[in-house]
């Protein structure tokens, strides 16, 4: 459930609102629940409300895990090449 889409804050507006950009689409979003979010920050938006700021470090950590998984998959192939080189 719960479509949440990441967007980037373009500017803060009055009354707990902000203009957010989603890859070329813009919408006024309530940042009442993410009061610390600044222009340039990324937030997760659900039904016109930012529910969380996206933590860049955590995002990268998750991507690193994915990168490791890919590397682990490729390793056996790498070993084969290594063996071929030796033989």
């Amino acid at each position: 459930m719960c479509l949440g889409v990441p967007g980037q804050i373009l500017e803060r507006l009055d009354d707990g609102l902000a203009k957010v950009d989603f890859t070329g689409v813009r919408r006024t979003v309530s940042v009442a629940f993410t009061p610390e979010a600044e222009p340039g920050d990324w937030v997760l938006v659900h039904v016109g409300f930012a529910l969380a700021t996206i933590d860049e470090d955590e995002a990268r950590a998750t991507l690193d895990l994915l990168g490791e998984a890919i590397a682990a998959e490729l390793e056996p192939a790498g070993n084969k090449l290594l063996q071929k080189g030796r033989g």
């Binding site: 989603f22 689409v25 919408r27």
Partner: protein, 335 residues
């Protein structure tokens, strides 16, 4: 069918089809109507003509990229064009609501003139009716068109074979998103315009492929998904698409993500789907790519023999999903 017409019946998907087959075809049954193509093939003294009609009830009447007049001309030109016909002439019928501003009507007529000129066709006859305030939502337009069939091609969905390739002329979902946003309830801002355009230039170019061109259609209401389901049903085969190959503009894709709508189901008004023989795919892409409207043309899939006619999308994850015919309008969702 329920006891009354619902909005779903006009959305271009399953419900629309049920209405046409279950009511109109059942009552009007005749050989010209049976194929239920976008146009009818009418022969007279050895000359083969295409004959078609369409009504336009779009709201709002004016939207980014066009208006109802332009839509009405291009839509009928396109029905003729994808049938393999060179458009000859159009007629236009107007149902006008009492109180409709003349200035707006003139602007719409001007749009139609421009669109007709771009399509090298004339609006040769017409009719107007006025109804009381409150009916007609401002204005309804019906256009009919007649065209001369290109002798080089024999376009028929039953000629589609396993292995044939499926092409689209450019990015999808622009018209539907533009209109959805112009209706003003969703409060999204993006610089998207309707892609309304006359496709006769693209179709004429593809007709050079002769018999290697099997079938064409312009996906309108119900989106690419609905048109491809009609293809699958008519060909009695499965249409397999590659998800990553389907062209969608980045911001249109973002709007669809936010609204939870699949771009495959969103209306187009200036796009072409063509099925060609496998060896002709590269040439077809080149022919389309040489024209401005075909700059983003792409090979998106192929026909596969199967007992059950379906549209499948292969995902980048090694899986696939069925793309069914649309049930009613694509509605935004939050879940």
């Amino acid at each position: 069918m329920t006891g009354v017409i619902t909005l779903a019946d006009g959305a271009g998907g399953k419900a629309s089809r049920k209405l046409v087959e279950g009511l109109f075809l059942a009552e009007l049954r005749n050989p010209l109507l049976e194929p239920l193509g976008d146009a009818a093939l009418v022969s007279a003294n050895g000359t083969r003509l295409a004959f078609t009609t369409d009504s336009y009830v779009v709201r709002p009447l004016r939207f980014p990229g066009g208006d109802i007049g332009e839509l009405a001309v291009n839509g009928t030109v396109n029905d003729l064009a994808v049938f393999g016909a060179i458009p000859l002439a159009l007629t236009a019928g107007f149902v006008l609501e009492e109180g409709f501003p003349l200035e707006e009507l003139r602007a719409i007529a001007r749009s139609m003139a421009r669109a007709a000129q771009d399509a090298s066709v004339s609006v040769a006859a017409g009719d107007t009716k006025v109804v009381e305030r409150g009916a007609a939502d401002g204005l309804y337009v019906t256009t009919s068109g007649i065209g001369l069939l290109d002798p080089r091609v024999e376009l028929d969905v039953t000629r589609v074979r396993p292995g044939d390739r499926v092409l689209v002329s450019g990015g999808i979902a622009e018209h539907g998103i533009a209109v959805m946003l112009a209706r003003g309830n969703l409060e999204l801002e993006l610089d998207v315009e309707s892609d309304t355009a006359a496709l006769h230039g693209l179709t004429a170019a593809l007709c050079a492929l002769g018999r290697e061109l099997r079938w064409m259609r312009d996906p309108t209401r119900g989106g690419l998904a609905t048109t491809l389901n009609e293809l699958a049903g008519g060909a009695g085969a499965t249409v397999v698409l590659r998800e990553e190959a389907i062209p969608v503009r980045e911001d249109v894709r973002a709007a669809c993500e936010i609204l939870g709508i699949d771009p495959l189901y969103v209306a187009n008004e200036g796009k072409l789907v063509a099925v060609v023989a496998p060896d002709a795919a590269d040439r077809a892409l080149a022919l389309l790519g040489a024209l401005p409207l075909g700059a983003d043309a792409a090979l998106i899939g192929e026909i596969r023999a199967d007992d059950i006619p379906l549209v499948l999308v292969d995902t980048p994850f090694g899986g696939s999903r069925i793309v069914d015919m649309l049930v009613g309008d694509p509605l935004p969702r939050i879940c």
